[in-house]
Amino acid sequence: MAPEVRGASLVALAEGVAAKKWKSRDLVEAYLDRIARLDKKIGSFLLVDGEGARRAADAIDKKIVAGEAVGQLGGVPIGLKDIYVTRGLETTAGSKILKGFIPPYESTASARLAAAGAIRLGKLNMDEFAMGSSNENSAFGPVHNPWDLERVPGGSSGGSAAAVAASLCAGTLGTDTGGSIRQPASLCGVVGVKPTYGRVSRYGVIAFASSLDHPGPFGRTVEDAAALLEVIAGHDPMDSTSIPQPAGRYRQASKAGLTGLRLGVPKEYFQSGMDPEVEAAVRKALDELGRAGATLVPVSLPHTQYAIATYYLICMAEASSNLARYDGVRYGHRTAEAGSLEELYAKTRGEGFGAEPKRRIVLGTYVLRAGYYEAYYGKALRVRRLIANDFAAAFAQCDVLVTPTSPTPAFKLGERAADPLQMYLADIYTVAPPLAGVPALSQCCGFTKSGLPIGLQTIGPTLGEETVFRLAGAYEARTQWHQRLPEDPS
């Protein structure tokens, strides 16, 4: 018998499958039914693999009956941002230039989910090549925020955040380069985790900015996100930047409580530009954490004001390089008519890329040219170290930092599309952690009067995921925000 999957936690659903309370196939049917009914309005899925999901679920159910082990996530339906390469299943990264691409290989993270028994329902919408903060840059249409369909879900993992918020699957994977997990998590009122750089393998995750790309999970609860991270984290020899240490015990940490934790409150993250309702909610959360037994410590991250410029310099340079392979020769879109090689490249790329990748290719190419390198990319790498040093110094004084995730709640579709710089500036609270490579999590800490979720960001030191989960779990245990659900669209 199928449980109510609306609002259900992934951990509870997995336990139910293991305990034979319900079948994986029932969960799959329940989610597929919700997707079929509701996702036309939300637009979170680019591809639904119902047949594959049913087949995988039946295999799990068979194992359960036979008394075989099915893995920690046995039978639980999940979704993947369409930046995760999936063998035999179209993978586009939200771009027309990859339309029709059927990979002959699988990303490490998605392979680990499958090995843990998770059922892949399909591929989720995203900003093209993960470039964006609103999911309006998808070549396949925008995603609508389940809390207000007129508003953006955030980006670039907008589909992954919206799908969890609307209970279209039990958990999802996204990627975060400058905030692309945490910001949509904030705008959709779910939990999103950007782990330490190198904690989750990038193998098979289509590159945007290689030195900044962080795969990570979305969950309805802190424990759900921890459960997903526990499965996908850990060393992968296929990624030369993968951290050798084994994954931590994140689920356990999420229930360990925060007694004795020193919470750093960086003053640079509480300056002007923040929406008053966001500021009020975050300050209330700080009070709550203080009451729960944490010590609040004022700290400073003095190079914060340079983080956005540094971030955009690095990500655009790396993006211009990573997007050079899309040339219409081996895969993806190819222009219909090309009389010469030059034409093949220029037309294929001109037709295949949307406005945001084009903007970043041109800017990235500009800053990497001979004679410009030191002034731009080289300079940004040096400032990046200063930003990382800021975090190291702060973590000498505290265990974890607490800040807002996004300066504003979800904004209206189209509202910021005309001004890319303004869109970039809104990443103010999320770009620094990926520059330093340190882990960070966003969870819901309240709602605006109009009912839009507000995000609280927790930042830990390198490989400090457990500390982040301790704080986030303890906060969630003392509040009810995560239990509030958006109405199903009618």
Partner: protein, 478 residues
């Protein structure tokens, strides 16, 4: 061009394909050939999301090369992306090295007309090879990515070369060296050794460099010489006419024996190098260097000098160092017969090398005449047990029947008979049978000695020691 008012200044960029089993950043086969696109994987095809993982063996090969030429091997080097668009380049960038290459400095040493030459190196760096473009008469082209990702070392020389011959000899020295080190087969036909040349000329005595042209597509030793010679002549004509040499890249056409300017594209190359974010810095520590250094073989130039010291001719020494197994064979034979270096060299060059199709197989287990066997034969000849002629015969049977010289001599008594009583008996029989000839000899026809010797040899089956035969006959006929 001695006696000429111009002097050529040449630097080479040599690409060496390393003979690893797998590609530099991925697990598919790095073997030459194969069905087009059969040796591919997501990494070397540049599929999205695929990531490079460095092959330790490729780094080790590059380290050995660096140590062999006396480069400074950086304890910490770095890969960088080099961007350009071309169909054989699947990622839109090559993973190469830029401002922090593995090796800096060093020199390649070789002999030109008996004189030792040292060409300084700027650097040696590692990078991945591109695929292969196949041009088709139908007006389209095709790409095969089997070669994409094969590890390369690029050896960049200082502009120390002064002639086309010297450039060709330098390239040959690199080929010999990489084969000694076992890091590449150095095969120019299969593209495992490739060369670009920077050529300029300047008035003799001038120290400032002239404007250089870069020659590409020089894919044989003959091409190196021809292309550079042609380029020097071309530049001399230009300067002679009072024109200027333009800095450009020129493509050598070996069929027509000319080079042509490659139309420079709409903008000059701007490779937009930046550190490869997918690969942290590469560390080669002291222990690694010691291990690699200890594993280096004796290098060609050192060996050459040692062989000269043994009294070998320059020509023989050159033959013996051309391939490492030849010198190894020589050394092993010499160890067994230390008194006869020149003789061993002769036998090796004239008999052994004439019978192997590939000198690299000389040290194989199944070579029919191993070094110790050759040494044994040389000793038998030098002791007088075998004549030179008989020795060659015995060698032929050693090679065919895989037997030792001693066995053949013992089992078939092919050795020269030196037992005077046996020879004396034979001589007596011959003289007795030929009274007329004996009388004529004694009468002064000394030419008849040949007749007697020949008959004694017939009598002894060719085994009598000719020196002793001669002595006894003279006594009997005296």
């Amino acid at each position: 061009m001695s006696g000429d008012k111009y002097e050529a200044v040449i630097g080479l960029e040599v690409h060496v394909q390393l003979a690893t089993h797998t590609k530099i950043f991925s697990i598919s086969s790095a073997a030459f050939g194969g069905e087009p696109n059969a040796h591919t994987d997501p990494v070397c095809l540049g599929l999205p999301g695929a990531l490079p993982v460095l092959n330790r063996e490729a780094v080790d090969a590059a380290v050995r090369l660096g140590l062999a030429v006396g480069s400074h091997v950086r304890p910490r080097c770095r890969f960088a992306r080099k961007h350009y668009f071309y169909p054989d380049l699947p990622k839109g960038f090559q993973i190469s090295q830029y401002d922090e290459p593995l090796c800096e400095g060093g020199a390649v040493t070789f002999r030109l007309d008996g004189e030792v030459r040292q060409i300084r190196l700027t650097r040696i760096h590692m990078e991945d090879d591109a695929g292969k473009n196949i041009h088709d008469a139908s007006g389209v082209s095709f790409v095969d990515y089997n070669r994409a990702g094969v590890p390369l070392c690029e050896i960049v020389s200082e502009p120390d070369l002064r002639s086309a011959d010297e450039a060709a000899e330098y390239l040959r020295a690199i080929r010999t060296l990489v084969r000694y080190l076992g890091i590449s087969d150095g095969n120019m036909e299969e593209g495992s050794l490739r060369c670009d040349a920077n050529v300029s000329i300047r008035p003799r005595g001038e120290s400032k460099l002239g404007t250089k042209a870069e020659l590409k597509n020089i894919n044989s030793f003959k091409n190196v010489r021809d292309a550079i010679e042609h380029e020097i002549a071309r530049q001399k004509v230009l300067l002679g006419r009072g024109e200027r040499v333009v800095q450009e890249t020129r493509l050598w056409d070996p069929d027509r024996g000319i080079s042509a300017s490659m139309r420079s594209k709409e903008e000059a190359h701007d490779y937009r190098y930046f550190p490869e974010p997918d690969l942290p810095p590469v560390v080669v520590d002291e222990a690694w260097l010691l291990r690699a250094g200890a594993a280096l073989p004796e290098l060609p130039e050192a060996r050459h000098a040692r062989f000269l010291g043994l009294g070998l001719s320059a020509q023989d020494a050159q033959v013996l160092v051309a391939e490492r197994p030849i010198g190894d064979y020589f050394d092993q034979a010499l160890a067994a017969a230390p008194a006869h270096p020149k003789k061993i060299a002769n036998w090796l060059i004239n008999e052994v090398l004439g019978r192997v199709d590939d000198a690299r197989k000389l040290m194989d287990q199944d070579v029919p005449v191993p070094p110790a066997a050759l040494a044994e034969l040389v000793e038998l000849v030098e002791k007088g047990t075998l004549s030179g002629k008989l020795g060659k015969e015995v060698f032929g049977r050693m090679w065919q029947q895989r037997r030792r010289a001693g066995d053949i001599v013992a089992a078939e008594s092919v050795s020269l008979v030196s037992d005077t009583s046996v020879i004396e008996a034979a001589c007596q029989r011959v003289v007795e049978r030929s009274p007329d000839e004996a009388a004529r000899f004694r009468g002064g026809n000394v030419k008849l000695m040949g007749f007697f010797v020949g008959n004694v040899m017939k009598e002894t089956g060719g085994k009598a020691n000719p020196k002793i035969v001669d002595e006894i006959l003279r006594k009997l006929l005296g």
